[in-house]
Protein backbone atom coordinates (compact mmCIF):
# COMPACT_ATOMS: atom_id res chain seq x y z
CA UNK A 1 0.00 0.00 0.00
CA UNK A 2 1.98 2.94 -1.16
CA UNK A 3 0.75 6.46 -0.80
CA UNK A 4 -2.18 7.11 1.46
CA UNK A 5 -2.36 4.40 4.11
CA UNK A 6 -5.13 3.70 6.50
CA UNK A 7 -5.70 6.54 8.93
CA UNK A 8 -6.97 5.01 12.17
CA UNK A 9 -9.64 6.91 14.07
CA UNK A 10 -8.35 9.05 16.89
CA UNK A 11 -9.59 11.50 19.46
CA UNK A 12 -9.60 14.10 16.69
CA UNK A 13 -12.72 12.37 15.37
CA UNK A 14 -14.55 13.53 18.47
CA UNK A 15 -14.22 17.21 17.69
CA UNK A 16 -16.60 18.78 15.27
CA UNK A 17 -16.71 22.04 13.44
CA UNK A 18 -19.85 24.02 14.19
CA UNK A 19 -22.66 22.97 11.90
CA UNK A 20 -23.82 26.56 11.58
CA UNK A 21 -22.12 29.75 12.64
CA UNK A 22 -18.74 29.80 14.32
CA UNK A 23 -20.03 29.53 17.86
CA UNK A 24 -19.12 26.46 19.90
CA UNK A 25 -22.83 26.15 20.71
CA UNK A 26 -23.44 25.15 17.11
CA UNK A 27 -21.46 21.89 17.31
CA UNK A 28 -22.97 18.46 17.04
CA UNK A 29 -22.72 17.38 20.72
CA UNK A 30 -24.42 20.56 21.94
CA UNK A 31 -27.18 20.20 19.38
CA UNK A 32 -27.60 16.56 20.40
CA UNK A 33 -28.02 17.60 24.03
CA UNK A 34 -30.72 20.05 22.95
CA UNK A 35 -32.37 17.35 20.88
CA UNK A 36 -32.30 14.93 23.81
CA UNK A 37 -34.09 17.45 26.04
CA UNK A 38 -36.77 17.94 23.39
CA UNK A 39 -37.16 14.20 22.80
CA UNK A 40 -37.37 13.33 26.49
CA UNK A 41 -39.88 16.11 27.16
CA UNK A 42 -42.07 15.20 24.22
CA UNK A 43 -42.00 11.51 25.07
CA UNK A 44 -42.95 11.89 28.71
CA UNK A 45 -45.49 14.64 28.15
CA UNK A 46 -47.13 12.60 25.41
CA UNK A 47 -47.10 9.44 27.51
CA UNK A 48 -48.64 11.10 30.55
CA UNK A 49 -51.04 13.52 28.89
CA UNK A 50 -53.89 11.12 28.38
CA UNK A 51 -53.24 9.05 31.45
CA UNK A 52 -55.91 6.41 31.83
CA UNK A 53 -56.51 3.49 34.13
CA UNK A 54 -56.08 1.15 31.20
CA UNK A 55 -52.83 2.53 29.81
CA UNK A 56 -52.10 2.98 26.15
CA UNK A 57 -48.83 1.56 24.85
CA UNK A 58 -47.13 4.94 25.09
CA UNK A 59 -48.30 5.47 28.63
CA UNK A 60 -47.19 1.97 29.52
CA UNK A 61 -43.70 2.65 28.18
CA UNK A 62 -43.39 5.99 29.98
CA UNK A 63 -44.63 4.56 33.25
CA UNK A 64 -42.31 1.59 32.84
CA UNK A 65 -39.26 3.86 32.77
CA UNK A 66 -40.56 5.91 35.67
CA UNK A 67 -41.37 2.96 37.88
CA UNK A 68 -38.00 1.38 37.09
CA UNK A 69 -36.19 4.48 38.37
CA UNK A 70 -38.57 4.89 41.24
CA UNK A 71 -38.41 1.34 42.55
CA UNK A 72 -35.08 -0.16 41.67
CA UNK A 73 -33.02 3.03 41.88
CA UNK A 74 -34.98 5.12 44.39
CA UNK A 75 -36.86 3.03 46.88
CA UNK A 76 -34.50 0.09 47.12
CA UNK A 77 -31.34 2.15 47.43
CA UNK A 78 -32.27 5.31 49.31
CA UNK A 79 -34.96 3.86 51.57
CA UNK A 80 -38.01 5.58 53.10
CA UNK A 81 -37.00 9.12 52.10
CA UNK A 82 -36.57 8.31 48.43
CA UNK A 83 -39.48 10.31 47.10
CA UNK A 84 -37.87 13.76 47.05
CA UNK A 85 -34.88 12.49 45.09
CA UNK A 86 -36.90 10.81 42.36
CA UNK A 87 -37.14 13.90 40.09
CA UNK A 88 -33.36 14.27 40.14
CA UNK A 89 -32.64 10.59 39.61
CA UNK A 90 -35.27 10.29 36.92
CA UNK A 91 -33.98 13.31 35.00
CA UNK A 92 -30.42 12.09 35.32
CA UNK A 93 -31.25 8.59 34.13
CA UNK A 94 -33.34 9.60 31.13
CA UNK A 95 -30.90 12.34 30.13
CA UNK A 96 -27.84 10.08 30.24
CA UNK A 97 -29.71 7.20 28.62
CA UNK A 98 -30.99 9.31 25.74
CA UNK A 99 -27.62 10.94 25.10
CA UNK A 100 -25.84 7.58 25.24
CA UNK A 101 -28.25 5.91 22.86
CA UNK A 102 -27.56 8.65 20.32
CA UNK A 103 -24.32 6.72 19.80
CA UNK A 104 -26.06 3.95 17.88
CA UNK A 105 -28.93 5.86 16.25
CA UNK A 106 -28.22 6.06 12.50
CA UNK A 107 -27.38 9.60 11.29
CA UNK A 108 -26.90 10.96 14.81
CA UNK A 109 -24.31 8.32 15.76
CA UNK A 110 -22.49 10.18 18.43
CA UNK A 111 -22.75 9.55 22.17
CA UNK A 112 -22.74 13.02 23.70
CA UNK A 113 -21.17 11.69 26.88
CA UNK A 114 -17.97 10.81 25.01
CA UNK A 115 -17.06 14.48 25.43
CA UNK A 116 -15.77 14.65 28.98
CA UNK A 117 -17.34 18.03 29.69
CA UNK A 118 -20.86 16.61 29.78
CA UNK A 119 -20.22 13.82 32.32
CA UNK A 120 -18.24 16.26 34.46
CA UNK A 121 -21.19 18.66 34.53
CA UNK A 122 -23.51 15.84 35.60
CA UNK A 123 -21.05 14.62 38.23
CA UNK A 124 -20.88 18.16 39.65
CA UNK A 125 -24.66 18.08 40.08
CA UNK A 126 -24.42 14.75 41.88
CA UNK A 127 -21.55 16.04 44.00
CA UNK A 128 -23.50 19.05 45.20
CA UNK A 129 -26.65 17.07 45.80
CA UNK A 130 -25.15 14.37 47.98
CA UNK A 131 -22.96 16.70 50.00
CA UNK A 132 -25.83 19.13 50.51
CA UNK A 133 -28.07 16.30 51.63
CA UNK A 134 -25.43 15.09 54.07
CA UNK A 135 -24.67 18.53 55.48
CA UNK A 136 -28.37 19.30 55.93
CA UNK A 137 -28.95 16.04 57.68
CA UNK A 138 -25.98 15.97 60.03
CA UNK A 139 -24.67 19.55 60.11
CA UNK A 140 -21.39 20.49 58.48
CA UNK A 141 -19.04 19.54 61.33
CA UNK A 142 -20.60 16.18 62.10
CA UNK A 143 -20.85 15.30 58.41
CA UNK A 144 -17.16 15.95 57.78
CA UNK A 145 -16.26 14.21 61.02
CA UNK A 146 -18.29 11.14 60.10
CA UNK A 147 -16.56 10.97 56.76
CA UNK A 148 -13.03 11.53 57.96
CA UNK A 149 -12.89 9.59 61.20
CA UNK A 150 -13.74 5.92 61.08
CA UNK A 151 -14.78 4.93 64.61
CA UNK A 152 -12.81 2.44 66.65
CA UNK A 153 -9.33 3.20 65.38
CA UNK A 154 -6.30 4.26 67.46
CA UNK A 155 -5.75 8.02 67.22
CA UNK A 156 -2.35 7.96 65.50
CA UNK A 157 -3.76 5.83 62.67
CA UNK A 158 -6.03 8.73 61.71
CA UNK A 159 -2.99 10.55 60.34
CA UNK A 160 -2.83 7.96 57.57
CA UNK A 161 -6.51 7.13 57.12
CA UNK A 162 -8.17 10.55 57.28
CA UNK A 163 -6.61 12.03 54.13
CA UNK A 164 -7.56 8.90 52.21
CA UNK A 165 -11.18 9.05 53.39
CA UNK A 166 -11.35 12.74 52.61
CA UNK A 167 -9.92 12.24 49.13
CA UNK A 168 -12.34 9.38 48.50
CA UNK A 169 -15.44 11.40 49.29
CA UNK A 170 -14.44 14.77 47.89
CA UNK A 171 -12.20 14.02 44.90
CA UNK A 172 -12.18 10.39 43.79
CA UNK A 173 -15.92 9.80 43.85
CA UNK A 174 -16.98 12.59 41.47
CA UNK A 175 -13.89 12.02 39.31
CA UNK A 176 -14.54 8.30 38.87
CA UNK A 177 -18.24 8.94 38.36
CA UNK A 178 -17.62 11.17 35.35
CA UNK A 179 -14.58 9.30 34.04
CA UNK A 180 -16.39 5.97 34.01
CA UNK A 181 -19.20 7.29 31.86
CA UNK A 182 -16.87 9.25 29.61
CA UNK A 183 -14.41 6.40 29.09
CA UNK A 184 -17.09 3.85 28.30
CA UNK A 185 -18.74 6.06 25.73
CA UNK A 186 -15.44 7.22 24.24
CA UNK A 187 -14.03 3.72 23.90
CA UNK A 188 -17.27 2.34 22.52
CA UNK A 189 -17.56 5.01 19.88
CA UNK A 190 -13.91 4.60 18.94
CA UNK A 191 -14.42 0.87 18.52
CA UNK A 192 -17.32 1.41 16.15
CA UNK A 193 -15.25 3.97 14.23
CA UNK A 194 -12.41 1.47 13.82
CA UNK A 195 -14.65 -1.09 12.19
CA UNK A 196 -16.64 1.25 9.98
CA UNK A 197 -13.62 3.26 8.83
CA UNK A 198 -11.63 0.06 8.38
CA UNK A 199 -14.39 -1.41 6.24
CA UNK A 200 -14.59 1.77 4.22
CA UNK A 201 -10.86 1.67 3.63
CA UNK A 202 -10.96 -1.97 2.55
CA UNK A 203 -13.54 -1.01 -0.08
CA UNK A 204 -10.93 1.15 -1.82
CA UNK A 205 -8.56 -1.82 -2.10
CA UNK A 206 -8.37 -5.05 -4.15
CA UNK A 207 -11.38 -7.25 -4.88
CA UNK A 208 -10.47 -9.74 -2.13
CA UNK A 209 -10.28 -6.93 0.38
CA UNK A 210 -13.65 -5.65 -0.80
CA UNK A 211 -15.16 -9.02 0.02
CA UNK A 212 -13.44 -9.06 3.40
CA UNK A 213 -14.85 -5.64 4.21
CA UNK A 214 -18.21 -7.35 4.72
CA UNK A 215 -16.81 -8.79 7.93
CA UNK A 216 -15.65 -5.42 9.09
CA UNK A 217 -19.06 -3.86 8.51
CA UNK A 218 -20.70 -6.90 10.05
CA UNK A 219 -18.61 -6.45 13.16
CA UNK A 220 -19.58 -2.78 13.28
CA UNK A 221 -23.27 -3.71 13.20
CA UNK A 222 -22.83 -6.43 15.82
CA UNK A 223 -20.84 -4.14 18.07
CA UNK A 224 -23.53 -1.48 17.72
CA UNK A 225 -25.93 -3.80 19.51
CA UNK A 226 -23.26 -4.54 22.09
CA UNK A 227 -22.79 -0.78 22.50
CA UNK A 228 -26.51 -0.33 23.01
CA UNK A 229 -26.23 -2.65 26.00
CA UNK A 230 -23.23 -0.79 27.39
CA UNK A 231 -24.98 2.55 26.93
CA UNK A 232 -28.04 1.45 28.89
CA UNK A 233 -25.84 -0.11 31.55
CA UNK A 234 -23.76 3.04 31.97
CA UNK A 235 -26.85 5.21 32.34
CA UNK A 236 -28.06 2.79 34.99
CA UNK A 237 -24.73 2.72 36.83
CA UNK A 238 -24.41 6.51 36.81
CA UNK A 239 -27.85 6.87 38.37
CA UNK A 240 -27.33 3.96 40.74
CA UNK A 241 -24.11 5.45 42.09
CA UNK A 242 -25.79 8.83 42.53
CA UNK A 243 -28.52 7.11 44.52
CA UNK A 244 -25.94 5.18 46.55
CA UNK A 245 -24.03 8.37 47.38
CA UNK A 246 -27.23 10.10 48.47
CA UNK A 247 -28.12 7.07 50.56
CA UNK A 248 -24.66 7.15 52.12
CA UNK A 249 -24.99 10.84 52.96
CA UNK A 250 -28.39 10.24 54.55
CA UNK A 251 -27.21 7.28 56.61
CA UNK A 252 -26.52 7.87 60.28
CA UNK A 253 -22.95 6.70 60.14
CA UNK A 254 -20.64 5.67 57.39
Amino acid sequence: MAGDGFVPPSSADFFFHPIFGTNILGTKPVLLVGLSVVLISVFFIASSRKAAIVPSRLQFAGEGVYSFVRHSLGEEVIGPEFLKFIPFLFTLFTFVLCNNIFGVIPLLQFPTMSHIGFPIALAIFTYFVYHTVGIRRHGLVKYIKDICFMPGVPKYIYVILTPVEFATYFIIRPATLSLRLFANMFAGHLLLLVFTMGGKYLLTSTILMKILSIFSFGFAVGLSFFELGIECLQAYIFTLLTALYIAGALADEH
Binding site: V77, I160, P163, V164, T168, I172, T176, L241, L244
Partner: protein
Protein backbone atom coordinates in the same frame (compact mmCIF):
# COMPACT_ATOMS: atom_id res chain seq x y z
CA UNK B 1 -28.65 -7.75 48.29
CA UNK B 2 -27.39 -6.74 44.87
CA UNK B 3 -27.35 -3.00 45.58
CA UNK B 4 -25.17 -3.51 48.64
CA UNK B 5 -22.67 -5.51 46.61
CA UNK B 6 -22.55 -2.74 44.03
CA UNK B 7 -21.97 -0.19 46.73
CA UNK B 8 -19.20 -2.31 48.24
CA UNK B 9 -17.53 -2.79 44.87
CA UNK B 10 -17.35 0.90 44.00
CA UNK B 11 -16.41 1.93 47.52
CA UNK B 12 -13.56 -0.58 47.59
CA UNK B 13 -12.32 0.67 44.24
CA UNK B 14 -12.54 4.29 45.38
CA UNK B 15 -10.63 3.56 48.59
CA UNK B 16 -7.85 1.77 46.75
CA UNK B 17 -7.50 4.55 44.18
CA UNK B 18 -7.55 7.37 46.67
CA UNK B 19 -5.16 5.61 49.05
CA UNK B 20 -2.64 5.08 46.28
CA UNK B 21 -3.22 8.51 44.75
CA UNK B 22 -2.95 10.48 47.96
CA UNK B 23 0.01 8.81 49.68
CA UNK B 24 1.73 8.06 46.38
CA UNK B 25 1.37 11.73 45.56
CA UNK B 26 2.77 12.75 48.93
CA UNK B 27 5.68 10.36 48.35
CA UNK B 28 6.33 11.77 44.89
CA UNK B 29 6.30 15.33 46.21
CA UNK B 30 8.67 14.37 49.00
CA UNK B 31 10.97 12.71 46.44
CA UNK B 32 10.93 15.87 44.40
CA UNK B 33 11.68 17.96 47.46
CA UNK B 34 14.48 15.80 48.87
CA UNK B 35 15.87 14.76 45.45
CA UNK B 36 15.26 11.07 46.15
CA UNK B 37 13.61 8.22 44.23
CA UNK B 38 12.44 5.92 46.98
CA UNK B 39 9.76 7.85 48.86
CA UNK B 40 7.16 7.45 46.13
CA UNK B 41 7.25 3.68 46.65
CA UNK B 42 7.04 4.10 50.40
CA UNK B 43 4.05 6.37 49.80
CA UNK B 44 2.36 3.85 47.51
CA UNK B 45 2.80 1.09 50.10
CA UNK B 46 1.42 3.34 52.84
CA UNK B 47 -1.48 4.31 50.57
CA UNK B 48 -2.28 0.71 49.69
CA UNK B 49 -2.16 -0.22 53.37
CA UNK B 50 -4.44 2.69 54.23
CA UNK B 51 -6.90 1.76 51.48
CA UNK B 52 -6.95 -1.89 52.46
CA UNK B 53 -7.35 -1.12 56.15
CA UNK B 54 -10.27 1.22 55.39
CA UNK B 55 -11.88 -1.58 53.40
CA UNK B 56 -11.28 -3.95 56.29
CA UNK B 57 -12.69 -1.49 58.82
CA UNK B 58 -15.72 -0.72 56.72
CA UNK B 59 -16.73 -4.10 55.41
CA UNK B 60 -15.09 -6.95 57.27
CA UNK B 61 -14.92 -5.85 60.87
CA UNK B 62 -18.72 -5.73 61.28
Amino acid sequence: MVKQDDNAFWTILAYLISGLAFWGGVGALADHFFKLHILVFVGLVVGLTAGLSLIWLRFIRE
